[in-house]
Amino acid sequence: MFETLTEKLNSAFKSLRGQGRLTEKNIADGLQEIRRALLEADVNYKVVKQFIADVEAAAVGQEVIKSVHPAQQVVKIVHDELVKIMGGANAPLKVSDMPPTIIMMVGLQGQGKTTTTGKLAVHLKKKGRKPLLVAADVYRPAAVKQLEVVAQQAGVEFFGLGTGVDPVDICVMAQGEAQMRGCDTILLDTAGRLHVDDQMMAEVRKIAQAVKPHEILFVANATTGQDAVNSAKQFKDNLPLTGVILTQMDGDARGGAAISLISVTGCPIKFVGTGEKLDALDAFHPERMAGQILGMGDIVSFVEKAQEVVDQEKAIKFQEKARKADWNLEDFLSQMQEVKKLGSIGDLMKKIPGMSQMMGGQEMDFDDGDMKHIEAIIHSMTTEERQRPKIIAAGRRRRIADGSGTTLAEVNRLLKDFDKSRKLMKDMMKRGGKGGKRGGPFGGGRGMPMMGMH
């Protein structure tokens, strides 16, 4: 019932196998699926449109990587673009050279600003800072009290003047208060407000102009839908935002609003909220977020490695040969060489069902020395011997050992390994049935161990 994006893309790209390049035409269905996935994740419609256009531009003309399924290749392009948009490393909170550092929290109603203010306080306190929480929401009933309780829970200083004072004045006065109490960081908890409320937007502007915060953080819920672009844009146009905090990331929202928010504000996501407790504040991980938005696990790093090393064309040729039972020592050698290349990702490959058999031996981790000997032995054979290993009787083995500078035992072992691999290949072909069609070990996205959902 529930298909992952990769599975959907697999079917969308079924016809792509064997084609040399990604073209506008042959990726159209796939892009349609990606578009759908992004919209289902609540990425804004226009943002998606731009994004798909960019992905198409990036994908068209790329050679189909032989070692991976085209679907996965496109997923990787999409994923990389998402990560690029969401920014690289974590953006830390600014610290002013001249304390106090002022951090202002803004956003729509009910996004979790007050709770997040408390979380930031706990975070800063852990880093040895001394925050002062300032109650600048004089509108919502008991908002001041809520922040006071939160400050208590966080074990930090609190400053409020009730609901009868102008929030601008409260924020200005907080600066002197911080100095008096020896606080090095001021956290301003402002009232939630609608971006279309001119009067309330004027108020936050005034606060920002009066205290010149070092950080103005836009707090938004991860469940936010299409309207994220509208509200974020208004806040951005009114205030010099410096960052975004995405809350309620502990739910099951795909969080596509992250893309919309970053796109519109041009600010990085500095933290994500992951629970109701005050320590439930996490750093933002673009990679993880991209996977979550696409509804998939960490297939990307796998594709990345695989595309460096495996030659899919050869793998298919091996299969063909194995099926026709003309598997010979030349094939064995080049297969060994492939496996050798895979050494660097040996662990990864071992996790793939059938992979190690496919590559002709249980021992994936042989060293350079072994490889040299194998090569030497096979190179000391005549062409006929390589192609028809059966004819290599005792006399020939002695000759080969001498010629290659190895021992008879090594030659024997190699021939035994070869025999084993041939049997395995035959077995696999029988079990696999329609071997050619499966397209090798990377053929299906389904059932790959690294593909779990988040």
């Binding site: 759908r36 919209l39 289902e40 994740a41 609540d42 419609y45 226009k46 943002v47 731009q50 994004f51 256009a53 960019d54 673009e81 690029k84 948009i85 920014g87 729509l108 109603q109 009910g110 996004q111 979790g112 007050t114 919502r140 009933p141 008991a142 908002a143 009290k145 809520q146 922040l147 006071e148 309780v149 939160v150 829970q153 609608l194 971006h195 279309v196 819920n221 469940t223 936010t224 839908g225 299409q226 309207d227 672009v229 509208n230 509200s231 844009k233 309620q248 502990d250 739910g251 099951d252 929202a253 795909r254 596509g256 609003a257 796109s263 519109v264 041009g266 600010c267 990085p268 109701e276």
Partner: protein
């Protein structure tokens, strides 16, 4: 961090283009292309998706629009807009859009639930005031004993509405508060008891269990109670709203939705997907933070607003 010519630059251009209303959009589209072709469908889809209706639901609605247009040979843009509105109305109209008042004897017990920050407490304040104005005896139960100052917030609303509140200390068992509130309603022969609950994510099993316990306690006290279970949904919520509705209905029989924050620019289109799949009617809409900013839900007005 932004590159002017990069993704952001191009996007800003795209977003900068003047936003036309849905109807204008439709008309503009149909004006030049009187037939309901693929391109027009795509443009209509854009309009629905941007209202948070969702890709799947939008596609289904448009498929039906296509059929209707074919059958009835609709060509003019007005006809097509009217047909689309009719289809949406077909989804949103069924069900009871008012409070059911099924309690016999009273009080009519209403449980208010939803995720964090959706507007439960504010809605209760507005609703209490509304019912009071209708001459009803209302009692409010402060069963959010978890969030800091939650009962203080509710208390302010009760003062504004002029209705009594039943509350216990912070951290008390929410079910105990609900019990006391319903008990007070019975003794004082109130017309209705409205219970505020703590915001909770539908994915937190223990919190959903807590809600079930509260439900059982109320049900034991008063036959048929809770008679009303309102799920409060923020109109800015995207596709996750459907998931929220699913999980809350799995937990208890949600009788209606209150869609809040419609005074912003969000359209709240996810309720279309919700009612289509789960058949839960919308009962009220929140249109501001004032005590009078709660309105009965009108499917027609809602659809018109969707197109404005």
């Amino acid at each position: 961090m932004t590159e002017k010519t990069g993704f952001f630059g191009r996007l800003r251009e795209r977003l900068g283009k003047t936003r036309t209303g849905l109807v204008d959009g439709v008309r503009a589209v149909l004006g030049t292309r009187p037939k309901l072709d693929a391109e027009t469908i795509e443009d209509l889809e854009a309009l629905l998706i941007q209202a948070d209706v969702g890709v799947q639901t939008a596609a289904e609605i448009l498929e039906r629009l296509r059929e209707t247009a074919r059958e009835k040979r609709l060509a003019s843009s007005d006809d097509i807009v009217a047909a689309l509105k009719a289809l949406l109305l077909e989804i949103l109209e069924p069900g009871d859009h008012t409070l059911s008042w099924t309690a016999d004897p009273p009080p009519h017990v209403t449980l208010v639930t939803g995720v964090n920050g959706s507007g439960k407490t504010t809605t209760i304040g507005k609703l209490a005031s509304k019912l009071k104005a209708e001459g009803k005896n209302v009692i409010i139960g402060a069963a959010d004993t978890f969030r800091a100052a939650a009962s203080d917030q509710l208390e302010v609303w009760c003062e504004r509405a002029g209705v009594p509140i039943v509350k216990l200390h912070a951290g008390a068992d929410p079910a105990a508060v609900a019990h006391d509130a319903v008990q007070a309603g019975l003794t004082r022969k109130a017309d209705c008891v409205i219970i505020d609950t703590a915001g909770r994510l539908h994915t937190k099993i223990n919190l959903m269990e807590e809600l079930k316990k509260l439900y059982r306690v109320v049900a034991k006290l008063q036959p048929g109670a809770p008679h009303e279970i309102l799920l409060v949904l923020d109109a800015t919520t995207g596709q996750n709203g459907l998931q929220q509705a699913r999980k809350f209905t799995e937990t208890m029989h949600v009788t209606g939705i209150v869609l809040t924050k419609l005074d912003g620019t969000a359209k709240g289109g996810i309720v279309i997907a919700i009612q289509k799949e789960l058949g839960i009617p919308i009962k009220y809409i929140g249109v501001g933070e004032g005590i009078d900013d709660l309105q009965p839900f009108s499917p027609r007005d809602f659809i018109d607003a969707l197109f404005s």
